[in-house]
Structures are given as structure tokens and as C-alpha cells.
Symmetry: C2
């Protein structure tokens, strides 16, 4: 474990324990099977980043109520619901080193348990008694599903441009981070300026986080990643490292890359050749740089807050988003 990760984990240990307990306590289906399927993914070593960001943001706003941990589960349930459905959509086989839910229980149960988690998240949001919190989460859910549809529509399209990639990851990932931070401010009854700063922190962090994830698919090993490297490309997902390298490459190298991309059954050797080309044409370094600039924006967004241990952790988390190994 890196030093930074250790530092963060030590600082938020109690919060993570409370969140874990809340995730258990608030999952209350009447059918054991629903708990089992939801729990398979929900309790498989997720980082709890979204609920944690919510809890920390609320603290930064001076929130002193007792509903933050309970409410934070809505964000993790929503995230888990989308992962269940996305793994199915992508026909994925592994997630966090485990077999995906639909491989164990079939597509049908997985769709329905995803629906349950989605509804549970909105029920918990309703439990805040604050309309704007509910509106933010409901709109977020609309956007997330559309982001996924958008990604699916562009599957395998080698002409995908950076702007459209950004539009997709904005909806499918960044808006959930943004919402996690924004609703905290609403819950804490913070001024709109504070709310917007936190939302901006979340949004920028979310974009960078997704870019880092997209990079991992080319730079990590399968065992670090918990799923086979190159999975994005096998699923036809063109991400920033590829988009940038394709735009930058000479005709010969561009054709070589396209050939590997188009053959979704590429060998490990072909995949390694592709990574070399991505690197040669700046796809990897460019993605790192862009992600780093979003992290800078995220940290700058916190400048309106006075120095505090909570602010320090949120800055550490921003740095960690890029430095992590999954």
C-alpha cells in the first residue's frame, strides 16, 4: 500500500466503518436472495469513495446532524446498481477479482436487483426530507443511464472525438461524484457558493478518476486490475488514451492500431503492441496530463474553505485518484 493511501485510510477509518455498517443496515429487502445478489458486489471491497466524499463534504460544511452516514449509502447503492447493469451491458466476466453477478445468478435477477438498489437509493434520498437532494439524485440517475446509452451508441467507433468521450464520462462517472459532494452541502444547509465549490471539486475529481480508470486498462496488470486488461477495448469502448493516440499517429501506425481495435479478439501480444503504439503517440502521457489538470481544478475548488484536517484529506483523495493502483 502506498504511503498516501495509508494516510487517507488512517484518517477516515472511523468514517469507513460507519459507512460499512450503514450499508449493511439500510439494505432491507424482504427477500434474502436480493440481499445475497446485491451483497455479492456491494461487499466485494469497493473503495466507498462516493459515500466517503459525501460524508467529508458535509463535515467541511459544518454538518452536525446524524443522517450523513445513512444518506451516504444512497450514493453507494446507486453506484452498485449501475455497476450491476453495466457489467451486464458490457457482458463483463470479472469485477474486483470476482465473477460478476450475472454470471452467478443470471441476467434476469441481476437486472431486477439493480432496479431494487436504484429504488432503494432514491428512497433513502427521500428520507432526508429535502426535495433538492431527491431532485439531484433523480436527475443524476437519468443522466447516468443516458451516459451509458451514449457510450453504447459509440461502441467501436474509431472516429470518436475527445469532446464526445468527455460528454460520456461526465454523465456516467463525474456527475455522481459531483452529486455526492453537492448534496452534502444541501444537507448541511450551506450557502450556494459553498455548494457550487464542492460540486466543482466532485465533478473534476470524477472526470480525473474515470480517466485514470481508463488508463489502468492499458497500464496495470490483470491481477492488479481485478479483471483482464484490455477489457475496455474488447467491449469496443474507445477511451482517451486510444482517441488521442489515433489522432496523433502517422498513417501506418494508425492503421496498425485500428486493425487491433477492430479485431476485438486480439491476442495478448497484439494488445502489448497496441500499448506500445499508444505510448509512442502520446496517448498514455496525454491522458495522465489531462487527468492531472482536472485534479488541479478539483483542489483549487476547495480554496474557499479554511485549512482543516477534513480539507487536507479531500486534497489527499484528489491526489490519490491518480496515484492509486486501482
Amino acid at each position: 500500500m502506498t504511503e498516501l493511501k495509508q494516510k487517507i485510510l488512517a484518517a477516515v477509518e472511523d468514517d469507513l466503518n460507519d459507512i460499512e455498517k450503514a450499508l449493511n443496515d439500510n439494505l432491507t429487502p424482504y427477500l434474502d436472495l436480493v440481499s445475497e445478489v446485491a451483497g455479492h458486489l456491494l461487499f466485494s471491497g469497493g473503495k466507498r469513495l462516493r459515500p466517503l466524499l459525501m460524508v467529508l463534504s458535509a463535515r467541511l460544511c459544518g454538518y452536525t446532524g446524524s443522517y450523513d452516514k445513512t444518506f451516504s449509502t444512497a450514493l453507494e447503492y446507486l453506484h452498485t446498481a449501475t455497476l450491476l447493469h453495466d457489467d451486464l451491458v458490457d457482458d463483463a466476466t470479472m469485477r474486483r477479482g470476482k465473477q460478476v453477478a450475472h454470471a452467478n445468478w443470471g441476467n434476469s435477477i441481476t437486472v431486477l436487483v439493480g432496479d431494487y438498489l436504484l429504488a432503494r437509493a432514491l428512497s433513502i434520498a427521500a428520507g432526508t426530507g429535502i426535495l433538492r437532494v431527491i431532485q439531484i439524485l433523480a436527475e443524476l440517475t437519468e443522466n447516468m443511464s443516458q451516459g451509458e446509452v451514449h457510450q453504447l451508441m459509440r461502441k467501436g467507433d474509431i472516429n470518436l472525438k475527445e469532446e464526445e468521450y468527455l460528454e460520456v464520462i461526465r454523465r456516467k462517472t463525474a456527475m455522481l461524484f459531483e452529486a455526492a459532494c453537492r448534496v452534502s452541502a444541501v444537507l448541511a444547509d450551506a450557502p450556494r457558493e459553498t455548494e457550487n465549490s464542492l460540486a466543482e471539486y466532485g465533478y473534476n475529481l470524477g472526470i480525473a478518476f474515470q480517466m485514470a480508470d481508463d488508463l489502468f486498462d492499458y497500464t496495470l496488470t490483470t491481477s492488479d486490475l481485478g479483471k483482464k486488461v484490455g477489457a475496455d477495448l474488447r467491449e469496443g469502448k474507445l477511451t482517451l488514451p486510444v482517441i488521442h493516440a489515433l489522432g496523433n499517429a502517422s498513417n501506418g501506425d494508425r492503421e496498425a492500431m485500428i486493425q487491433i481495435i477492430r479485431n476485438q479478439d486480439f491476442s495478448d501480444e497484439e494488445f502489448r503492441a497496441l500499448v506500445v503504439l499508444l505510448d509512442k503517440h502520446g496517448g498514455l502521457s496525454y491522458t495522465s496530463e489531462v487527468a492531472a489538470s482536472y485534479i488541479d481544478n478539483a483542489k483549487t475548488s476547495l480554496s474557499i474553505f479554511n485549512p482543516s484536517p477534513t480539507k487536507d484529506i479531500m486534497i489527499d483523495i484528489a491526489d490519490y485518484a491518480l496515484k492509486r493502483k486501482i
Copy 2:
């Protein structure tokens, strides 16, 4: 068209037109593909029973606001979302005489568009600004997905009892009817007694409606039904006609029925033989009688309301639930 149906349609023509317009106006994805997939099922000749019940119930409570038609779309979007996911879960091929969405666009898009509609329904509920309305719909969504899981868990189980069947249809169908009527009273700020009476009307109507649907699978022709008769049984869904007949039959007939049920690839001839046995052992008449008693309960629930044209239509709709041919 039956006389009763004509009478109802004449009475609610304006409402249905308004609801249709609202369904168009409130479906606002940024992707055309999402409109297209959602619209394929949403505008395929559904009865609009759930939004209509909502609008009529609100009127019965003296609601004079202007949000009822807009809000009623939440119930139809939610219903459509569950149909999209259920058809996928059941691996259905036809719905309302058309190919199902997942056969046209694939499972992935269908899951995601279902998610979008589900989220859209909750966004619209949030638009009422009334917390209880949102809580009712969010809890309903939790229950509906669990009802479907429950049904799936008991797939093909010839020992399914009437009580468990009732538990399933309560969640998967009746609670949506109940919620449609209940939220109207909340929207109209009606007293709790009024709200509970309307909820009871909706609940009883919903149970009867589902029982009638389950009966249609054995008593209608494929062209009336808009999908192949016997589909429930082919999907392993044991409904009241079968449950009752199995419980009532002598050993020989029981075994004959079980043999057909277990062979989900049964021929049309075998299916006709099964229907004869269901009839012989009272499965069809019993289901009609039980459904009729729920309809009586539904109508009785309206007794607290003074006579009015709106009340008359709601009584007609209750009668129509059994007398309809789909």
C-alpha cells in the same frame, strides 16, 4: 368494442388526450435513441390505466391544480420501465402485437432505457414538491422489483401456493394501482381516510386486473392477446388458474397437467388439453370468482364518496377490468 369500453372512453376522452400529450412532453432525454426505444413501447397502444386512475382519483378528491396530468406520466413511465425489464427477464418476444424492445435494440439498450424511465418517473414525482408522493413511488419501485424477483425464484415450481401467488401479484401489479390512487389523494391534500379508501380501491382493482390478465393467457386467442397464448406457462409462471386446478385435480389429471407444465415446449394441442383440464378442475371459474370479489371490494371502497360522474367512471373501470378482452 364493448358498450362498457365505449362508455368509459367517451367519458375520459379529454383526459386521455391530455395524458398522451403529457407523456410526449415529459419524456425529455438528450439522446434521440432513448426516445425511440422508450417510445416503441410507450406509444404502442397501452390503456393508460394507471395515469387515468391517478387523474380520476385526484378529481374525486376535488383536486383543482394543474399538475395532475404531468404527474400522471410518472406512473406510466414507471410501468413502462418495468415492462421493458420484465420482457427481458421473461425473454418475451411480443408485447401489444409488436416485437419487444430488446429484440429490436438488444438487451443492453433496453436495460438502460428502462433505468432512464425509472429515474424519469422519480424526477417527475420530485417535481410535485411533496415528500410523501416521492416516498410512495420510491418504495413502490423497491417493491415492484422484489415482486419480480420473487416470481422468478418460484419459476416452474408446481408447489406454488395461492398465498404466495397473491404476494407476488400484490407487489408486481397491485401496489402500482394502489400508489396511483393514493398519491392523487396526497396531491389533492385529501384527509387520510379518503386517501386510504382510494388506495384500497386501487389495490383491489390491481389484484383483480392481474388475475384477469393471468386468465387471458388461457382464455383468449393469440391475436386478441397481442402475444402467443400460454406464454406465462412457457416462461414457467404458475398463476391462479393453474395453482387452483392443480390443487383440485385427482392424481391422474394432476399428473397430466404437471407433465405439460414441465415441458415448456408444449404443443398447441397439449396446451388446449391443459386448458380443458384447468376448466374441468375449476381453475378458470375460481380465478374469475376471486377476481370478481376483489372488484366488489374495489367498488365498496368508493362508498365514502358522494355520487358523481367521476365516481361512476371509476366503478365502470372496475367492472371493465374483468369484462375486457385485453
